[in-house]
Structures are given as C-alpha cells and as structure tokens.
C-alpha cells in the first residue's frame, strides 16, 4: 500500500513536469497578447478562448493580416503525415522482409546500404538534397514533401527486430506446404505484423506531422503550408510583434491531431510494441 503511494507521488510529479508546458499553452491561448508578453501568464483560463481560436482558424488575428488559415494548414499536415507514415510502412515492411527471410547474394550489402543511413539526418546535406528535388521537379508539391522522407532505416530496423522473433519453423512449414515467399508474406508475416504496423503508424504519423526544416525549404506556395511551419512563422524575431495568444491557440491546434492519434491508438500502440519486443 505504501509502495503504491510512492508510485502515485512519482507519477504525479512526472505528469507535472511533462504536461505542465502543455497546460501553460492551453492557458496562454485564452488570454490576450500583452498579458502573455508581460510574463504575467495566469494559471487559470482567461475569457478570450473562443475569439483566439476563431482568429487562428480563419487566419485572422486582432484585426491584423495573419498567416494562412489553420484549417488549411491542418489538412496539409494531415496529408503529409499520412503519406509519410503509409509510405514508410510499406517500403520498410518489404525491405525488412527481404533482409530477414531471404538468403541471397548481396544481402549484407543491402542491409548496410539501408542502415548506414540510420543516423544521417536531412540537415547535414540540405542544400544538395534540395538540388536533387529541383532536378526531379518535386519542389513545391505534396509529393516533394512526402517522398524524400519515406526512406526509413528506423522503421526497417523495427520490423527487422520483430521479424527475427517470428519462429523460423514457420518458414519451413510454409515451404513444406509449397507456399512461396509472397504468400508467406501475405498469409503469415502481414497478419502477425498488424499491431506493429499500428504502433509504427503512430510514431511515423507524428514524425511526419512534426517535420519542420524540410517543408520550410521546399514549399513556397502558401496553400501547401503545414501547421508546424505555419506556427513557427508566426513566431517572429526582432521587429515583429508576437501575437502569443493566437500562436498558442494555433499551437494547441497543431498538437491536437497527433495527440489524438497517440491517445486514441494507445491500446493498440502499446500492445503492438509489446509484441515487437517479446
């Protein structure tokens, strides 16, 4: 009983540390800009919530001309995040399957070709990558937002870890039954992977949703702007006036979809990961 109390205590503290900034954002989105700018953020909601959210949603703020409407940016973010998640899962499943269940010439080469990229982020080679996008006429398009981010050593690694736990005897059994690799993939591997796919979907959806530097560089059409980029564009430096209340309202809207995905898919998600690590 006493141990439970300490557990409650620690978890409560953890929640305070991990959820307080988000609480502060919610509160900030219900006050006016100058209250926040003065550093006098109260700990209770203010009266301006509805107004701030309406302004953020419509792309209007305090009578001034604001950025893109949050509604449009949310759609763009959703398309980008879904595209990246679906694409990554598809190609990672296929390549992990090939690496784990096949013996073929060049297997290790393929393995390393994929995994050396595990830790090489786009920031390191942003200008050459931009050049490649131009050569392929992919700048300023939804495809350009999605395709380059689809290569994923991380997802492949995760599927590989999971596939390694599938008993090898299944393969032998499949061979005995005369099933080919593709049928094995469809009838055995894929059904077993459903929860892992769901889990990865959550991770990758959020990875896609939270992209910043890449969309900023290759998109200059406002109708394709994503919400994270749009949000940071509202946070000015120097001469600009920050409408912190609108920014906070937009931040809340930028957080809602990924948070919803995490919370709604939580059961599947944890179950999926449990299967992965067994």
């Amino acid at each position: 009983m006493r141990r439970d109390t300490t557990a409650y205590l620690w978890l409560g503290l953890g929640i305070l540390v991990f959820a307080f900034p988000i609480y502060l954002t919610l509160i900030g989105s219900t006050h006016d800009a100058s209250t926040i700018g003065r550093g006098d953020v109260p700990l209770l909601p203010g009266p301006l919530g509805a107004e701030n959210y309406a302004n953020a949603w419509n792309g209007t703020g305090g009578g001034r001309i604001q950025g893109s409407p949050a509604g449009l940016m949310l759609v763009n973010s959703a398309l980008m995040a879904l595209g990246i998640a679906a694409g990554k899962i598809a190609i990672s499943l296929l390549s992990a399957f090939a690496v784990v269940f096949f013996r073929f010439p060049g297997r290790m080469i393929a393995f390393w070709l994929i995994f050396v990229t595990l830790m090489l982020p786009v920031e390191v080679r942003i200008i050459p990558t931009f050049q490649v996008m131009v050569d392929l006429s992919l700048t300023n398009s939804m495809a350009g937002l999605i395709v380059p981010l689809i290569a994923s050593a991380t997802a492949t690694l995760l599927f590989r870890q999971f596939f390694l736990t599938i008993p090898r005897e299944y393969v032998e059994a499949a061979k005995v039954d005369g099933a080919g690799p593709l049928r094995f993939f469809r009838d055995v591997v894929l059904p077993l992977s459903v929860t892992n796919i769901a889990a990865l979907f959550v991770i990758l959806f959020i990875y896609g949703w939270n992209q910043y530097l890449w969309p900023l560089l290759i998109i200059n059409d406002r109708s394709l702007e994503t919400i994270v980029v749009g949000l940071t564009k509202m946070i000015g430096t120097g001469d600009a006036q920050n409408e912190w209340n609108i920014i906070m309202a937009t931040a809340v809207m930028a957080m809602l979809p990924p948070v919803a995905v995490v919370v709604l898919m939580q059961r599947w998600f944890i179950k999926g990961l449990t299967e992965t690590e067994k």
Binding site: G39, Q66, L79, N140, S141
Partner: protein, 452 residues
Amino acid sequence: MNRRIFGLATAGLATTNLATPALAQSTPVELQFWHGLPQPLGGLLEAIATRFNESQARYRIPASFRGSYPETMVAAIAGFRASTAPHIVQMFEVGTGTMMAAGRAVKPLHELLAETGVRIDFDDYLPAVKGYYSLADGRMMSMPFNASTAIMFYNKDAFRRAGLNPDQAPTTWAQLRQAATRLKAAGHEMPFTTAWPTWCQVEQVSAIHNMPLATLDNGFGGLGAELAINNPLLNRHLTTLVEMGREGTFRWGGRDGAGDALFANGSAAIIHASSGARARFVREVPGGVANIGAAMLPYYDDVAGAPLNSIIGGASFWALNRGPNATRSAEENRGIAEFFAFLAQPSVAAGWHTETGFLPVTKTAFEQVRASGFYTQNPGADTPIQQLLRGGGQTTGNTRGIRLGGFVEIRVIMQEEMERALQGGQTPQQALASAVTRGNVVLRNFERSNRA
C-alpha cells in the same frame, strides 16, 4: 489527393514556361517574390504586393514568406544554384556585402532601370538609405524598402518613479549611466538593456563617433577590408557595458532582437532597439504610447566630432537572375522594375512608415507624413529620421554603412565575444582582439572565394 499533387506539379512546370510571348499576352506574367518578414509585418508587405497586382493586369506578384531573413537568403541562394531563383528577394542589410559580390547572380538595379526605361528618383531617398545600397559611384544596386535605424526607447513611468524627468532622455553615455544608476537605486531591476547588440552597441556606436568598423570605408572600398573594432572607443564602450552589467544597471537581453521583449513587457526601463519595434512597443508596453519616450542614441560627448548620423538596418529588395546560366526575359525585368517604381510612390512609402515604424525612405514621403500631423499625434515617431540626419545629413566613410562579406557570421562572432566578456570570462580588450582575429578569417575566406 493524387490529382491535387500532379496538378500542382504541372502548374509548377507551366510557370517556368510562362515567358513565351504568346502566353504573356493573355495571362499575367508571374514574378516570384520571397520575403523574410514574419507576421504581422509580412502580411502588411503582402498586402502591398496585392495592391500592385490589382493596379495593373500585366504582372502578378505572389509574395511568399520564406522564413527569417537568413533563411530567406539561403533559400534564394539555393534557388539560384538550382536555376529556380525568385525574381525578387528581400535581403537584410547584413547580407548586402554578400549580394554585392554575387556577380551575375543579381541584376543590379541601375541596369534594370536603364534597360526597362523605368524611372525612380533616388535623389529623393534619405542619404543614409541610398548610400547603403549603392556602389561607390552612387549607382543603385538594390531597391531600398523597409529601412530602420536604432534609437533609444525609455519607459516614462520608470523614469518618474526614480525621480527622473520623463520628458528628458539622457543624451550622452555619462547621463545614461547616471540615469541607470538612479533607476537601480530606486529599486528598478533592469535599468538598461539592448536589442541587436552588435548593431546597436558596436556598429551604431562606431558610426555615431565617426570611427571605422572596418578598413577601406567599412568595406565599401573593396573586399580587402579588415575589422578595425579593436580600438580605444569600443574598448571604452564595452568596458562601460561590462561595468554596468556588474553594477546591475545593464542587462544582456540576448542576441539579435531578443531584447525587445524585455522593454515590451515593461521590465526594462531603457532600451536601444530598432525603430521598427515601435509599433510593438506601443501595443505591448504597459501604459501604451503615452508611457514610451523615444530619443536618439547617446554618445560620448568628449569624442571630437560626435555625434554623426546613425546607420540603417532593415532590408532591401534584390532582382535576381534565374540561375547560373539563365537570365530573365525583358518582360520579366520590366515587371520587376514597375513593381519597384510602385514601391517608390510616396503614398506606399508613407503608409508603410506609419503602419510599422520603419523609416519613410524618401524625403517626399517624410514630408507627406509630417504634413498629415502624424508626428504631433505620435511624438517621437520622427526621432529615427532626425537621427539619420544628425551631423548635417552627409555621410562619411564611417557612417555610410557596412559592406562586409560574411557579415552575418561576423555579427555572431562579435555577439559571442561580447557574451564571454559580460560573463567575466575575458576582458573587453581580449573580446575585441578575438573578434578581430576571428572576423578577419571570415573576411579573408570571403575575399578568396569571391575573387573575380
């Protein structure tokens, strides 16, 4: 979704082919314009582009925000390397040296106007504005637009509470330090801070006292310039700031524009900041416009010849060629020139000035705003212009501006060294010496890669 993706991709291709004469007749020529102003300033700028689009049918300029100034600069350069440069890019004044050395990447403004026959009267521009963006012989290289300068803002309530006269700002550094000490004694936690530390405390201080920031007229005379900031004046000034920091009368507000927030929220009593911050201060400082004093930057009154004019900041618009092997059509150039001429109209310049706090870049616009009574309703709004004309309005080699390559990097170096001096990690003298050594490496690298 697919249709949307491919639709946009083909639309992108169509844009590149637009220059064909047949199409130009029926559809307006689209001219890409990238800028680096976040909201709400960016929106006001985009509204000006929209007004231009509505004023005629031949050209259409979709203005697009590309991130902060440095990000916009990088995006434009990456675009140029990829032959997809925008027609017009907004470049902050710090990037001027880099653009000037960019050779055939830019279409010099004087060439653009001569070829298209569009006329803009640059004699009407404030000398400090015009000088910053022109060659040594006076030919314009880029189109000045949002220009600002650094001035001093102070909180009148804080002055009153410390028993200082709220209608009399300190004019010299000795007076500023005295006032700050009084404020401190009266219990004020942050008597003085600064935004844009190198711009306000190094570049402006040098100009006002007619001291060189770099040799060869601050780089106007060529790529061989060397930093000259390790001098007695700046040593004295940095020592003043370090001492004030130790006494608690000066607080470092952070790099670049971060210090603005400290004045905006009422914590700082005095700030040196961009005149473009005015609109923000009026809106956010407790007590509003009645509580904000604006004055010229202080100077050391024992320095002979001081004070002279301050230098400008802000940004100008550059016409870019499409790529290393691609130029613009005559029609595109004409559109760019007409857009610039549209911006030069007194009504546009005056509107921008009164809405934002940036300078009215032309004398006519200044007169127009003055005649409207704006300055009597908004006392102090003309301080930046007065300050730019201080010392007779004729610039010297030290007050014309700064034209150093890699200056973005040099500013960061100076900020880093200032931070270490204010932390007590090194003496002001060491900070300046180290900034010169490191800055000169940048200058020599730039010179080497930009030799013709």
